[in-house]
Amino acid sequence: MSSEQTDSLAWRVGGPQGSGVDTAARIFAGAAAAGGLHIFGRREYYSNIMGRHSYYDVRVAGRPMTCHSSVVHVLTTFEEETLVRHAISTGEGGAIIHDVESSDVRLDRITFLDERVVKDLTAYLGERDLPPTTAGVLEDARRRGVEVFPVAYDQITETLAGDILFKPRADRALNTIAVAVSCALLGYEPEYLADALKWIFGGRQEIIDLNVKAVELAYGYVKDEFDHGRLLHRMRPVHGTEPMILVGGNEAVAMGKMAAGLTFQTYYPISPATDESVYLEAHATVPLKNGGEGAIVVVQTEDELAAVTMATGAALTGARSATATAGPGLSLMVEGLGWAGMNEVPLVVTAYQRGSPSTGVPTRTEQGDLLFAIHAGHGEFPRLVLASGDVTEAFLDAAQAFNYAERYQTPVIHLLDQTIARTTQTVPPFDVGSIRIERGDVYVPPEGDDVRGPYPRFAVTESGVSTRPLLGQRGGTHWLTGAEHTEAGQVTEDPVIREQQLEKRARKLALAAREIPAEHKLAVYGEPQAAFTIVSWGSNKGAILEALERMSAAGIDARLIQVRLLWPFPREELAPILEAARPLVVVESNHSGQFAQLLCGQTARQCDHLVVKYNGRPMTCGELTRALLDIHRGTAEERIVLRNPYE
């Protein structure tokens, strides 16, 4: 893969929801992957089923990437809204492909274009003496050195329909045509597109044939209409790469759970968590290595109160059990979480963060739930909170969460952000073999018939962990209760037993803090000894990693400390590393700097700079690098907000 300007190519396609934007992106990504290229894909869309604007970034390169790019090289559109929204993000030397029909449409005539965008763009164009129309937008792009390619889509689909095909059916190939036009302009071989179409449309030969035909026509059109090779960017296959899968965050989590032996999952539909559960539902029979197969029970519950409590009930029987949700659902799970904590139940809660609070911006990203996850629930009980930094970590953490839950017999919140859920990436197939399943201290019923309970389920031990009989085991009968209890689980209000049990539960958290290896708690990237220190968590990792590369290219040594275990907070490991940190920069995707507050509360160390983004869109390496360079130069404020009005 190569491109004149950078070593990666940033391709974007957009359109109304329901018009095939996703498919277009998958075709492009599939074609690129078929050529051995790496892919980093990112989807943005409205909380709507049909009609509102959505777009897809596919970045391709001959090496793995970790974030998307805010500067677009090739913008593929087939209606005016996408054109208007994204033309401005297309960089010098880039290309815009658009429908000829969209060449001159007034901005205020575009149904779902936000008033704010119309206003700002009108002003922007006005300053440049350009009209508030697509024509103005396109002219601006041209002036900025962007190549514009108007395509007569209708003419192509008409040809495609020919005499035999109903025209609306041919119109459905519009997205394929748009993708093919961009590939043709990039000089990419059409065979890879055919590969992708086969992969995506499975056995549906008729559809494949139609689309392959559409590709041919598109390539022909480009050849006829445009000065071939006018585009600076090029896309070229690479060969001999390692095996790769193209996978998204939701699937990665689902696969991690399957690998860990999940047998029970509950959910109530909510973006961006639903897809994980639906994937599990669709793959609820797992082939086993011993030749058999195992069922995963997936229950769509009536609400999240039921989801968390039902999953807890299942966990009591020994099933590896989880529930998955997003912010509003997590808010409803709070009481159930406390019960699980009090009853020392190994429960995994996969919590996707989205734009909040309340309904917020449900299909946009944010890291707004960290302190909530750590403190959710009245009263004090141990819980672990893990946050993954990318799709592969999402797989591994999803599996590891069960080990922690069973080892420490307590709920584990696996915190993800929408950015990860919405990321589609090429990665090596996940390493299932590296997973070790550890079930913790589970009771083994003795031989013989007359073993009787009650069993001291909550025996006070030095570690805090007690042997756990599973509901149904002979000799293990005991009581469970959200009330304070004796060792056998009977309610008690005795002040001494209260203290003992509270302390016992708390010891498990201390145990986890001691036992979990440092490398599972945090990861250091970049120059390990650098003073310039970025501390972050979750999906920001991707943008930071690429920013570190750029800093390094600019001769600046810096490092990232990614905290993966957020609770118990890795104070012992982190505090010494931070001593030499200067400046200490916290990067996160929320408004109040939750991680920075946590860090200070746990280590008494305040950060020197806080870089945040909270417009609902993931950070990019570019904007972050600018902020970091400002910090390095000493020209930055303490608090830096990353903003981009056109994403």
Binding site: A194, M244, L288, M310, G313, A314, G453, R474, L480
Partner: protein, 332 residues
């Protein structure tokens, strides 16, 4: 439904627990508890194969006095907990016990949606028309306008008919008992537990401490010359059964019959089996038809790792589906 002990005779003693009970003297809960211990024993169930899932309230303390697995859950959430337990380990006999506040107020949404699933378990509602443990507020089963002891004003909210609600929700077994008729209660509980599907047993439970209106005397009709208000459906010509394969018309007629009896109140209060619907599949059956291996290895019991702790899951097919590595021009 019930898994019986194959090894030794189980008696009510097996279900007793040596723990003092802190209900008020004269509380109807005693009768219900005793009936449940007897029913479980009569069914020959081994205690460790039984899970009693309690709500929060006076009633929700029952499981502490039953020598089986006892789960004291959250207020209103006993049905989801019970569902999780049962679905994950269908070999367990699961009985949920809770108050009317627990079930009809904070838990009403779960009640309705449990009906849609028809999981093979039993729910016993202790219907005392008040919130016992929080000192006598009106529960959703207290009729409009009544003013029990602790209320500063007459009840301003209407009474929900729990039997009709169970019917609308889809419960496939519906019955009602009376806490002071333990013998009948034992039988009802046995039937409810043996019913293959979701059973709802409403128990009229006098709360002498807070419900001074609908007390033992009232149910016994002391105010009207000892003509008891409670009567048994068994003593009438009432057939609660909807047979497997019944036609729609029959179903509608039977449902109408339930409503008729459920709406009686005041003068005559029916007890017994209102409905036994054999015409609906259980949720477990539906899960089994989604994935037959469910019946072979329930979630609680299926192997997930080999002796070295390596995952048994074989994800290679899934990886193949998402694999993008292929030779240019090759097949997907």
């Amino acid at each position: 439904m019930a898994v019986k002990s194959e090894t030794r005779r189980i008696t009510a003693k097996d279900y007793r627990v040596d723990q003092p009970i802190d209900w008020c003297p004269g509380c109807g809960d005693f009768g219900i508890l005793s009936a449940l211990q007897q029913a479980l024993a009569r069914l020959g169930l081994e205690p460790h194969r039984v899970a009693i899932v309690g709500g929060i309230g006076c009633s929700g303390k029952s499981q502490y006095h039953i020598g089986a697995y006892g789960v004291h859950t959250l207020h209103g959430r006993l049905l989801p907990y019970a569902t999780g337990i049962k679905l994950a380990n269908p070999e367990l006999t699961v009985v949920a016990v809770g108050g009317d506040g627990d079930g009809m107020a904070i838990g009403a949404g779960h009640f309705v949606n449990a009906g849609r699933r028809n999981v093979n378990m039993t729910y016993i509602l202790f219907n005392n028309e008040v919130y016992g443990l929080t000192k006598g507020q009106a529960s959703p089963t207290l009729p409009l306008g009544l003013q029990t002891k602790s209320l500063p004003e007459p009840n301003a909210q209407g009474r929900v008919n729990s039997l009709m609600l169970a019917l609308s929700a889809g419960f496939t077994w519906i019955g009602r008992g009376y806490a002071f008729n333990v013998r009948q209660l034992v039988g009802l509980m046995q039937k409810a537990i043996e019913h293959p599907g979701l059973a709802y047993l409403d128990v009229l439970q006098p709360c002498p401490t807070y419900n001074n209106l609908h007390n033992k005397d009232w149910y016994a009709g002391k105010d009207r010359g000892d003509r008891p208000r409670v009567y048994a459906l068994d003593d009438e010509d009432y057939d609660p059964v909807i047979a497997e394969g019944a036609d729609e018309e029959t179903v509608v007629a039977k449902m109408g019959q339930v409503i008729g009896k459920a709406m009686e109140w005041g003068d005559r209060i029916a007890t017994g089996v209102f409905l036994e619907n054999r015409n609906v599949s259980t949720f477990e059956e539906r899960l089994g038809s989604r994935s037959p291996s469910y019946h072979k290895h329930a979630p609680a019991l299926r192997p997930i790792a080999d002796a070295e702790g390596r995952s048994l899951a074989d994800l290679s097919d899934l990886f193949a589906q998402t694999s993008v590595t292929r030779k240019p021009g090759g097949e997907a």
